[in-house]
């Protein structure tokens, strides 16, 4: 039987401390050991996101967030909800996730489901270490993602 296409995408710069948290989650043994999913690591090029999925994909996307909230806080959102962006944000070669999702929506290229997990970082300076609060969040969000994948698969079976 065909597996439900599940894509887990981590986004970040591995040399900017907490910015790498999306990559760290994707690299965990718990995620890597799941059979039949595809893992992707992106360095921030939003346009590359559009190449990661097809219309029947169930996508889980993890990225670092800089919001002023307490470090390690996990934000969750449905990426298929309308994303509103400022025109001026589409301003560099490497367009961001919001701009890429807006483009995907316009081109009717959004996946079947898109769950976004944003983890609030504390330190985005040069380096490869995660802050303790962000490291703790990796464990929590990994468990959530495992449950999410289970739920996606069960839903598809019914």
């Amino acid at each position: 039987m065909m597996q439900t296409p599940v894509q887990v995408i981590g986004i970040g710069n591995e040399y900017r401390c907490d910015d790498s948290v999306g990559l760290v989650v994707v690299r965990t043994q718990e995620i890597q050991n799941i059979q039949g999913i595809q893992c992707h690591e992106l360095q921030g090029d939003g346009i590359a996101l559009l190449d990661c999925w097809t219309a029947d994909s169930h996508v889980i996307l993890i990225d670092a967030v800089s919001s002023g909230s307490k470090p390690g806080t996990i934000f969750r959102c449905d990426g298929k909800q309308t994303v509103t962006i400022s025109e001026s944000l589409f301003s560099s070669h490497l367009c961001g996730i919001a701009e890429a999702l807006q483009l995907a929506q316009t081109l009717q290229h959004l996946p079947a489901s898109l769950s976004i997990y944003g983890i609030v970082g504390e330190n985005f300076e040069i380096g490869t270490e995660l802050s303790p609060a962000v490291q703790s969040a990796v464990k929590s969000v990994t468990i959530e993602i495992l449950h999410k994948i289970q739920t996606i698969r069960q839903t598809m079976l019914h």
Binding site: Q43, G44, D45, I47, A48, L50, D51, E87, S88, F90, S91, S92, H93, L94, C95, E99, Q102, L103, T106, L107, Q108
Partner: protein, 429 residues
């Protein structure tokens, strides 16, 4: 005398942070300054004391769009210092990799960054609402370019398979089969792109430039050649510092390049095309003529068409290279360091990229110099605005600003390379 002061928000669709200042007095442009406000990044200093083997990976981090250009200029310059020439099928693979970067970088600029200017949209996604099929085509082309880089480089951004002397691993010819299908489709999409780009409303504007690009007797320039210009320059890249200089200007964090004794010059697709048209493939030449281009072009706004021709050429060339490819016996040549200085210019999507490294006997970098294309084009950008703006003085401030941004984007400036967003400030009096 009428005084106009125009200040705009950040200029979108360029890479990096900068501002443009215009001072207009009556019908005269009094002052133009391209102000790069992005902080200096000190890559040249960062390279000192590092092993020569690290240069390709360190310099690749200068840019997420054209890492191949940095890697290629770095490896060629260090190989020059070591007295080694990488030839044969390893050279073929390097050129193929460069084709991938030209395709992905040009497709991004043509479709997502520059085309909205010509069609009157503020962004690519706005344009996508009206022209979804066209934007989809651009994304398919970009994806094909990325596929080449991922295939040979290990990943699309900051590839990891490039090393001094060659590659860490090289593919078997049969491994290209899937990629070839994608490239054949991409070549047709590129031909359509050239016709579409030529149908865009192109401003009627021409300028006399000194075009500077590499030139090679056997091929359209990418990895090597002599530096030539339409005003008599014809030098080996080892003499770059004799003929070119970098100047500090008080208002910018990026150095301005000049040709000594002559000043501003232009590098990039327009220069390559004007100096090397005969080296384009028959298909690229035929298509250029079919869409109304001559063998030369002095209208910088037509750079969007010329980039499309270069995309077509890059697909054509990539397929030719793959068709003749045989697996090399070794993935990389051995290099023995020596105390010497090495030089290289390669053709990044935006223009000529110069690297110079001085090594000691242990292969430790003692000194490094990197001159990216955007640094070289800053003066030409300022000159374009100085001569273009007087044609636009009957426009509203808002319209004038939009047209200036479009003129700046003719150069696909990568400000991050040159030292990120561009703000335009127009002061009229």
């Amino acid at each position: 005398m009428k005084t106009r002061t125009i200040k705009t928000k950040a200029l979108a669709r360029v890479e990096g942070e900068g501002k443009m200042y215009l001072k207009i007095s009556g019908a005269t442009v009094r002052d133009v300054k391209l102000k790069i406000i992005e902080p200096p990044r000190f890559f040249e200093a960062l390279l000192r004391g590092r092993a020569m083997s690290e240069a390709p990976d360190i310099t690749a981090r200068i840019c997420g769009i054209c890492p191949i250009a940095y890697q290629m200029s770095a490896v060629h310059a260090i190989e020059d210092a070591c007295g080694v020439t990488v030839d044969g099928q390893l050279r073929v693979l390097r050129r193929l990799l460069y084709c991938g970067e030209w395709i992905e970088s040009h497709a991004l600029h043509v479709y997502l960054l520059h085309a909205p200017d010509f069609l009157g949209y503020q962004s690519a996604w706005q344009m996508a609402q009206v022209y979804p099929d066209i934007v989809q085509r651009g994304l398919r082309i970009k994806k094909a370019g990325n596929a080449i880089i991922s295939f040979l480089g290990g990943r699309a951004i900051h590839p990891i398979n490039i090393r001094i002397g060659g590659f860490y691993t090289v593919p078997a010819p049969e491994a290209f089969d899937e990629l070839v299908e994608q490239l054949i489709a991409g070549r047709e999409a590129a031909r359509e792109t050239a016709h579409w780009a030529a149908s865009l409303p192109i401003p009627d504007y021409e300028q006399e430039y000194e075009f500077v690009a590499l030139s090679h007797p056997d091929e359209y320039p990418m990895n090597e050649g002599r530096l030539i210009s339409n005003k008599g320059l014809n030098i080996p890249v080892q003499e770059y510092d004799t003929y070119f200089a970098e100047e500090q200007v008080a208002y910018s964090n990026a150095l301005h390049s000049i040709i000594k004794g002559r000043g501003a010059y232009l590098t990039g697709p327009l220069a390559r095309y004007n100096l090397n048209f005969q080296q384009l493939s028959p298909l690229a030449q035929e298509t250029a003529h079919a869409v109304g281009l001559g063998n030369s072009c002095n209208n910088p706004f037509k750079s969007i068409i010329i980039r499309s021709i270069e995309i077509l050429y890059a697909f054509d060339e990539a397929l030719r290279l793959i068709g003749n490819y045989t697996k090399p016996e070794t993935a990389a040549l051995s290099l023995h360091p020596r105390a010497a200085t090495g030089y290289a210019c390669t053709e990044a999507p935006r223009g000529t990229l110069y690297h110079r490294y001085t090594l000691n006997n242990d292969g430790i970098i003692q000194d490094a110099k990197i001159v990216p294309p955007t640094s070289q084009n800053q003066k030409a950008i300022e000159q374009d605005l100085r001569s273009y703006v007087p044609q636009l003085l009957n426009m509203s401030d808002e319209e004038l600003t939009v047209r200036c941004e479009q003129a700046i984007r003719n150069y696909d400036p990568c400000i991050s390379c040159a030292t990120h967003f561009l703000k335009i400030e127009i002061e009229s009096e």
